[in-house]
Subunit: 398 residues, 2 copies
């Protein structure tokens, strides 16, 4: 299961919630396993998940009729109670045998139509007897005015924003989530390898980008992040592969990662075409030591702000005295920026099961950008890397 249900129940108890409602695509998929296509590819379409506290009723999915087929077909879905809304036409011919999947679709299509998403949600809440309770409502996936409308429709309930609760719950991953993140990281590594295979003078960034994303797609990933820059363009933090052609001596910076079974990767590796200068070697080594210092330090109970400080100081000491950063990493999961952020002001303490991107990027206009970024999971005594390569410079001898 994607959802860390113990942690969700604990958080609901801590915040005095009788139930919680997911509305953001990430939170809907995370809490129910239901990946509702339309809300993932554009803003507007609504799907929700209602999860009552233990003993307060059964969880339910609120889904548009036109996406019920996905609900029937997806192995990740663990919630069977469904409230549907909206008209959609699927036919049936008498005499045709239906298998279990078709039967389940038929059952779902035959549920009562609740008209609108909000109506379906409020009915689900009232059906659980939660109409006079404290309900945490994820505020970010709703349409403007929906939050107020739900409050008005449930006048005896206490409806509170709950986005941050979902983010806190999601910070500690289940084993299934870690498996997906590991595979996502490794697809990104394989995709870097495919791009580097064709890297030589005269090849364009765009060609590297195509090779990168093609490999991601071939491995079953969805391309998302593909910042690949060469020479001075590698100093652009969000560089999109362009027409520039590689030359001897170029730095090639990858800050990349797709989505695998809904879970994100975000890693960084550096290659140099030919012999790196001493300054590149020195700066890259300092950045790499910064990441390794953070990784050695990360374990349950450590403050994220201390990790930030240690990583930045290591980079400064090892060769970039003027090194400055806003963060040295962030959580990763079904969202590319999960809790925690490794910033100087963060008050979050690291917990077992958190998955982190740890990174020390350095961007120098007119010169190059260098970066090491690894994905790791926090274990009882330290970290387990999700990577199969290390952050060393890739020196391409072509």
């Amino acid at each position: 299961m994607l959802l860390n249900i113990e942690r969700l129940n604990e958080m609901m108890a801590r915040h005095g919630l009788d139930a919680i409602v997911a509305t953001l695509p990430e939170n809907v998929t995370y809490s129910s396993g239901y990946w509702a296509l339309s809300q993932w590819v554009r803003r507007g379409p609504q799907s929700y998940v209602l999860i009552p506290a233990p003993g307060r009723g059964d969880p339910a999915i609120i889904a548009t009729t036109s996406l019920l087929d996905q609900l029937a077909d997806q192995d990740d879905v663990w919630i069977s109670k469904v409230y549907r809304y909206g008209f959609f036409s699927v036919e049936q011919t008498s005499g045709v045998t239906l298998d279990a999947l078709d039967q389940r679709q038929l059952e779902l299509y035959q549920l009562r139509d609740h008209g609108t998403a909000i109506n379906a949600l409020c009915t689900a809440i009232n059906d659980c007897g939660l109409g006079e309770c404290v309900i945490g409502l994820d505020e970010l996936g709703l349409m403007p005015g929906n939050f107020e409308e739900i409050r008005a429709r449930l006048p005896n309930a206490n409806v509170k924003p709950a986005l941050e609760i979902f983010r806190t719950v999601r910070a500690v991953k289940t084993p299934e989530e870690v498996n997906r993140l590991r595979r996502a990281a490794q697809i990104a590594e394989q995709s870097i390898a495919s791009a580097l295979e064709i890297a030589k003078p005269g090849v364009s960034e765009r060609e590297l980008g195509l090779a990168f994303h093609e490999r991601t797609a071939r491995e079953g990933g969805y391309p998302v992040l593909g910042c690949i820059g060469s020479g001075p363009r590698s100093a652009m933090p969000n560089v999109e592969p362009g027409d520039r052609k590689l030359k001897y001596g170029d730095v090639i910076r990858f800050d990349v990662g797709g989505r695998y079974q809904h879970y994100r990767a975000d890693i960084s590796r550096i290659a140099v075409l030919g012999e790196p200068t001493d300054r590149i070697r020195q700066y890259h080594r300092a950045l790499h030591v910064g990441v390794l210092t953070a990784l050695e330090m990360i374990r349950p109970g450590v403050k994220t702000s201390d990790v930030f400080e240690a990583a930045v100081k290591a980079v400064q000491r090892e060769g970039i005295p003027h090194y400055k950063r806003s963060h040295v990493g962030h959580g990763i999961g079904i969202d590319g920026y999960d809790v925690p952020n490794l910033t100087p002001s963060s008050t979050v303490v690291i917990e077992e099961g958190m998955t982190l991107c740890v990174e020390t990027p350095y961007y120098e206009l007119g010169s190059w950008g260098l970066q090491v970024e690894d994905m790791i999971v926090v274990r009882r005594d330290g970290i387990e890397s999700l990577m199969s390569t290390d952050g060393a410079l890739n020196i391409l001898d072509r």
Copy 2:
């Protein structure tokens, strides 16, 4: 230019607006050419575009400091005035020569930091002398509470929701948008061809899906929609490719399309492995005639509801008497569902330059799904197809 500025100015005049503000990723990219990575891949990050009515001041982009490199590098960006917000560290070493791109980045990094997105936006509005004017504010890209905060920060302005204005403007495409949509459609067709190349008994849906997305990535597209189902699974409207292996006689339904230079494709084609039954031929032909009937009818001045009625009646008359649908198509552009929707209740009249997906899907549980969906652009006297294949059945003899 992506933006249809004449139409935007006309709509601002019609609604009495002195300026309009884009907040949704689609509207930001559409109105300025600025594709701000972070707001496209997750919810939360904010970028805005302020466009005053003619004579009321210069347009401006509100961008986070960490994405200014994209603003400097993207050829689509036509707005030079920028308000930045937030801390981000990029270094510069003395003595290093900066090219024009680096110089532009440096200029942008050296702009004053306005702290927050809302503060930057309100400053931009006040700098234009628009603080007491009527401002249309795209409400869907904002965070909860931002709309009210902007109203409070501009107490003498009349701030109105403007999402629907952007949607109406975007409905009539510029030539550059049509070119991108044509290429997006053709990448989807090429990707179907790549999947069909490997289709034979024993090959799984998943393998077809990988071949499809891999081709999309190779052609420079980003995979988005990849509904590919076989046999009874082809009747699932949003089928995700699964483990089912192809058998002789199977229908294979594609409802697919990626993104090319930010513009979407959404097309449908059907293949049959071996000889189709008479019922498949008859039903598919009826659906195809439904689309062709709509395409013959579509031209400026025609009501979308009349197109709906004609298409559905044609399908019913040609062999599926019980055919029912909620719509027979929709606009397509930077969003997969642009204005108009081809529904029975739509009051929109078709205009020259609209780009439409015209479709007549039919889903029969336990049997199969069949569908024809073409992308077209409305021209002065009728339509121009954006497709390079027709909607005929692909009969695979293997």
